[in-house]
């Protein structure tokens, strides 16, 4: 036997080389040999994967409809990154009970989804999509930055991969927020309206649900405590808003309920569109 390895530019990561694909990224082998997620870690992976997948699906609807060609490309690229994150996270979630990423994406009914309401907010006009992107990417950036140090090697590897991409998404959202808020009277009016409409759904992202408490007990360091991400998020938003004269709306947070399977009214329609092909033609490939 001979083994030849590529020489990387960096020192090795704390977890060394984490093989995800062989046991986790391969649909046929999900739940097979190797590291399988516990029920609670799988549920946590589902939270993050469901956020990413629903946002990806929504952004895909902008392609050919964005304000300019470059935006078609940008939103398509962001959607593709998010789809990649979702696939890794859903595959890992599926190792608990042997479901594949496709089982989880296409054959779960609405109450079984764990997407936070922010990600379910409709695309609206371009300003609404940007306001949602700003909140989502700033949240995911703080989340994956912290999750890189997870005691769960698979979550840490997915986070380390994802955070570099989410940084682009955040940059994109910040630039558009500044441009719309500092642009014409009309663009500013729309941006203010969008932030007002989207912001009640920010609070849910930072709630420490019972799952987080259980994980803190049973798998210390595996998950990131959502409430711990709030100050980093608020700091970035404050800096961006100060730059363009926007204010955080003084509105009560939505009760939301995505982590418990209670969803925004648009969610059912979104799932119907996303799942119809796989359900009407099981096993279809093209």
């Amino acid at each position: 036997m001979t083994l030849r390895q590529a020489q990387g530019p960096e020192e090795s990561e704390p977890h060394g080389t984490v093989t995800v694909d062989e046991v986790l990224l391969s649909a046929e082998l999900a739940g097979g040999e190797g590291v399988a997620a516990s029920a609670d870690v799988a549920e946590y992976a589902l939270w993050l994967g469901d956020d990413a997948l629903i946002l990806s699906q929504q952004l895909g609807a902008w392609i050919s409809r964005a304000p300019e060609l470059e935006e078609d490309v940008a939103l398509g690229n962001i959607a593709l990154d998010l789809l990649g994150h979702a696939r890794s996270l859903l595959r890992y979630a599926g190792t608990w009970d042997g479901r594949t990423e496709d089982d989880l994406a296409y054959f779960r009914d609405e109450p079984d989804w764990r997407t936070a309401w922010l990600f379910q907010q409709p695309n609206g006009d371009f300003a609404h999509t940007i306001a949602r992107q700003l909140a989502a990417s700033c949240f995911q950036f703080e989340l994956y930055t912290a999750l890189q140090r997870s005691s769960d090697a698979t979550l840490a590897a997915i986070a380390a991969k994802s955070v570099r991409e989410v940084e682009y998404h955040r940059d994109h959202a910040v630039q558009w927020t500044l441009r719309l808020a500092d642009g014409t009277d009309e663009s500013r009016r729309r941006m203010v309206t969008a932030v007002t409409d989207v912001w009640p759904y920010v609070d849910e992202l930072f709630r420490d649900e019972p799952l987080v408490e259980r994980l803190a007990q049973d798998a210390p360091g595996a998950a990131v405590r959502p409430s711990a991400l709030r100050s980093g998020f608020d700091g970035v938003i404050a800096a961006v808003f100060a730059e363009c004269g926007l204010e955080v709306p003084a509105l009560p947070p939505s009760s939301a309920g995505g982590r418990h399977g209670i969803h925004f009214p648009s969610m059912g329609y979104l799932l119907a569109e996303m799942q119809v092909l796989a359900r009407q033609h099981p096993g279809a490939t093209w």
Binding site: Q5, P9, L83, G84, R87, S88, A157, Y168
Partner: protein, 160 residues
């Protein structure tokens, strides 16, 4: 059994389907190759999470190694350590520039939400007077630039 070229050389001959001047070894996505006689195990890593080229690269690896006589080819994907553009070899950078894609500079540590970047050299005329038209380009790994000296638009493999 396989004779002649090593399994690594055969795997390294597979090229990125979207940037055909780059072999997967030059791109830095080929992590290791284990030759067990009749069987070979190739480990690759994705550039970007959703990169659709990975499926094609996987298929091309299986085809190339099967054609070379290996009875069993396993292609595995690892995520850590995460790929960065620093994994692209010097030869790969030259190939990119010759192909008209400005190669990435070194990956710099970023500290704030507004990153600072070095100017990108135009692959056609060599000018440093260039501007970013769009940070998201024709593939996940590229941004669209334009040269102010020769006016030509060009792709830049962004430092990542």
């Amino acid at each position: 059994m396989v004779s002649g070229a090593t399994a690594w050389d055969i795997a390294a001959s597979v090229h990125d389907p979207e940037i055909p001047v780059l072999s997967i070894a030059d791109l830095g996505v080929l992590r290791d190759v284990r030759d067990d006689g009749d069987a070979v195990t190739v480990t690759i890593t994705p550039t970007y999470s959703g990169c659709p080229a990975m499926d094609t690269i996987r298929d091309d690896l299986v085809l190339a190694l099967t054609a070379a006589g290996f009875a069993r080819v396993d292609v595995r994907t690892v995520l850590a350590p995460a790929w960065t553009t620093d994994w692209i070899t010097p030869h790969g950078r030259e190939a990119l520039a010759a192909f008209g894609i400005a190669p990435p500079g070194p990956v710099t540590a970023r500290s704030g939400p507004i990153p600072l970047r070095l100017s990108v050299k135009c692959p056609r005329c060599g000018s440093l007077d260039t501007r970013e038209l769009a940070r998201f380009g024709s593939t996940s790994c590229k941004a669209l630039y334009q040269c102010r000296s020769c006016d030509e638009p060009f792709d830049h493999f962004k430092a990542h």
